[in-house]
């Protein structure tokens, strides 16, 4: 691989031949965080406290203190996040190989189905149909489920709770196993607040995407945005979690490189 490749990329980036698409939601206290049943401990929401802003607390500088849970905003799930991945090697934010933070992305457009049915489930059949049009999902790729959920700016609509819990789209168990066992993907990403569907607590097994992806050492990305700006194939995803010692995940600035 020649050094020219990278300078060619730099040139394309500067000239606009390669677009950089921001796949991240803005981190703010207004962005909703995951809600667990109240008997469990909860993920801390994102909070900002000003240290100083050119004032008596610090006349020449502005800065903030931040607090948040590891799984806040657009964020990365490491394998250790789930009990099925707890004993795997290199399963934490500080030990995952950095090369895996940059990888090709396949985007499965489920936006029409998700608009019709908030509980839409992506199946292995859907994935095969996608492959018939766009080619086989390559090993080591991210598979991103586009639902246009990120366009729901109202937190109530984004969370979409009723008395039976959350209603958001996601993959079913067979789709996840297909991606892990037959396509050897790097991970699965969604625009919703989890890689699993809102009702996945009732699935058999519960939370199949977390269970099977992390059980196989694969990753998760959630609360992604702007997936509609990506081509079905050909984009490169850059998503590097903070290097937290034994961290289970972290907010990321997820970026995609795409050509037109």
């Amino acid at each position: 691989m020649s050094a020219a490749l990278l300078s060619e990329l730099a040139g394309a980036l500067a000239a606009g031949g390669v677009r950089v698409v921001d796949l991240s939601q803005t981190l703010s206290s207004r962005f909703p965080q995951i809600v667990l049943p109240p008997e469990f401990d909860q993920c801390a929401p994102f909070r900002v406290e000003e240290i100083s802003r050119y004032d008596e607390r610090g006349p020449g500088w502005y800065w903030n203190n931040l607090s948040f849970g590891e799984h806040t905003g657009t964020h990365f799930d490491a394998p250790v996040h789930w009990i099925s991945g707890r004993d795997l090697p290199n399963n934490t934010t500080d030990t995952m190989p950095p090369a895996s933070f940059i990888a090709p992305a396949c985007v499965i457009d489920c936006s029409a189905e998700s608009a019709r049915d908030a509980d839409f489930l992506l199946t292995a059949e859907h994935l095969r149909a996608w492959e018939n049009r766009h080619g086989k999902v390559p090993a080591g790729a991210w598979v991103l489920m586009r639902s246009d959920w990120s366009k729901r700016s109202d937190p109530v609509a984004y969370q979409n709770f009723d008395e039976t819990g959350q209603h958001t789209p996601g993959p079913d168990a067979r789709a996840v196993r297909f991606l892990v066992e037959e396509r050897d993907v790097l991970g699965f990403g969604t625009e919703t607040i989890g890689t699993d569907a809102g009702q996945a607590a009732q699935f058999r097994p519960p939370y199949p995407c977390h269970t099977f992806m992390h059980g196989a050492g694969r990753y998760g990305l959630q609360c992604l945005a702007n997936l509609d700006l990506l081509p079905p194939t050909g984009a490169v995803l850059i998503a590097a979690p903070l290097k937290i010692l034994r961290g289970s995940g972290s907010p990321v600035r997820a970026l995609a490189l795409a050509t037109d």
Binding site: P37, E39, G165
Partner: protein, 414 residues
């Protein structure tokens, strides 16, 4: 007419879990005899051995002749409901959550007047009813009147359901589904209307006759579970621990090993499954079940342990096995004491020899796995705590209560 129970909806995950509360558990020592009989499904009241008076509440002397010779005898619960009320208010947390609630006064044909819960289908007073004794959520006996004739959905009455653990619409874990007993229990749970039956399998490469047919049922889900492996138990609990409503521990290791046979490996293996397996399950699954004991219309309700009648009195020809079952029995009694705070019923099943490959040389009668499974379903439906299924178990428990020492001697040669 009691409406048929409808399948409970998933719980609203953002609302607070309803925490378990208990009806008042305090009883006098004498009244605990009512509990002792109810634990085995019988209504027993005090009968005066001298004048025959049947009395309730329990006393320390006969109300008629002052005799102290009072015997607890099985009593016919037939009687007349002479007055009824609907309670709309109670000072007790448990009942505040369960009003309105029917109570009545029943005059038994046998004599005494009883304050009882009323199953919803009992006709207004005056009417004929049958009184039975059941354990309530606190594990103590209370009386409930049922209509004289069975009604369509009688068991779905909310107060009766507080006293029973019907598998209908519940999620059940059978800890070892490979052997014939585990298969029969899993099948019986499906037939009893369980919503999901998770069937634990320890060594998936081992084939067992009949097992494939079981796996084809839509209610059945095979899960990896090896009770000798703490990690395996914890991982399964991590996935389904928050959903199991009834846990049936069928995992058993049984060899014909006497005390003086050389080596401790068999005894250790038996202990690993029969005793430590139960301990691992209790630690991994017990806490979550306790928290979920009041969740919705079909909450976590029961834990069943497959013991052996020789947990009561050892069978020397199966010496090390008997010892592990005695240890498991003691553990299960303690588990019961710890689960009572949530009202989770711990059911102990004490079968005689089961008709399986580890009792080949034991002469009949032996208990068929299907009969054992039926006994477990019946115990859950009837709210029974101690089950002695089959003729051999009944024979041995009767002899044990007559004289433990005589039984010990007689078991030497069996």
């Amino acid at each position: 007419m009691t409406p048929a129970l409808i399948k409970p909806k998933p719980r609203n995950p953002v609302s607070a879990l309803r925490l378990p509360t208990l009806p008042p558990p305090a009883r006098s020592r004498s009244a605990l005899r009512l509990t002792a009989a109810a634990a085995e499904g019988r209504l027993e009241l005090q009968h005066c051995a001298d004048c025959g008076t049947v009395q309730y509440p329990s006393r320390s002397a006969c109300v008629t002749c002052l005799s102290h010779r009072l015997e607890w005898r099985e009593t016919n619960g037939a009687g007349e409901l002479i007055s009824g009320t609907v309670l709309h208010h109670s000072n007790e947390l448990y009942y505040r959550e369960r009003v309105p609630l029917r109570l009545g006064t029943v005059r038994l044909d046998a004599g005494p007047a009883l304050l009882v819960h009323l199953q919803g289908d009992c006709a207004a007073a005056p009417s004929r009813v049958r009184v039975s004794a059941h354990l309530d959520k606190s594990g103590q006996a209370v009386l409930i009147a049922l209509p004289a004739e069975d009604t369509a959905n009688m068991a779905d009455d909310p107060m009766l359901r507080e006293m029973t653990s019907d598998p209908k619409f519940r999620k059940v874990l059978v800890t070892d589904g490979k052997p014939a007993v585990g298969q029969a229990v899993a099948m019986a749970m499906v037939e009893a209307g369980a919503d999901i039956v998770w069937v634990g399998v320890a060594e998936p490469w081992k084939q067992a006759p009949g097992f494939d047919a079981l796996t084809k049922l839509k209610q059945i889900e095979i899960v990896p579970l090896d009770v000798t492996d703490e990690k395996s138990v914890e991982e399964l609990a991590g996935v389904i621990g928050g959903k199991v409503d009834i846990l049936i521990n069928t995992a058993e290791f049984h060899r014909t090993h006497t005390v003086v046979d050389r080596g401790t490996e068999t005894a250790r293996a038996e202990m690993e499954v029969n005793y430590l397996g139960l301990l691992r399950l209790a630690q991994a699954f017990g806490p979550a079940m306790r928290v979920r004991a009041a969740e919705g219309s079909a909450p976590a309700t029961a834990w069943v342990n497959l013991l052996s009648i020789h947990a009561l009195s050892a069978l020397p020809s199966h010496g090390t096995f008997s010892a592990t079952k005695a240890a498991a029995f003691a553990l299960s009694q303690n588990l019961r004491a710890e689960m009572r705070h949530a009202g989770i019923r711990v059911v102990n099943v004490f079968p005689g020899p089961i008709d399986d490959e580890w009792n080949q040389l034991v002469p009949p009668p032996k208990l068929a796995p299907v009969a054992l499974a039926e006994a477990i379903v019946a115990a859950l439906r009837d709210g029974i705590e101690d089950v002695y299924p089959g003729d051999v178990a009944q024979d041995i428990v009767t002899r044990f209560r007559e004289s433990a020492k005589v039984l010990e001697r007689e078991l030497w040669d069996q």
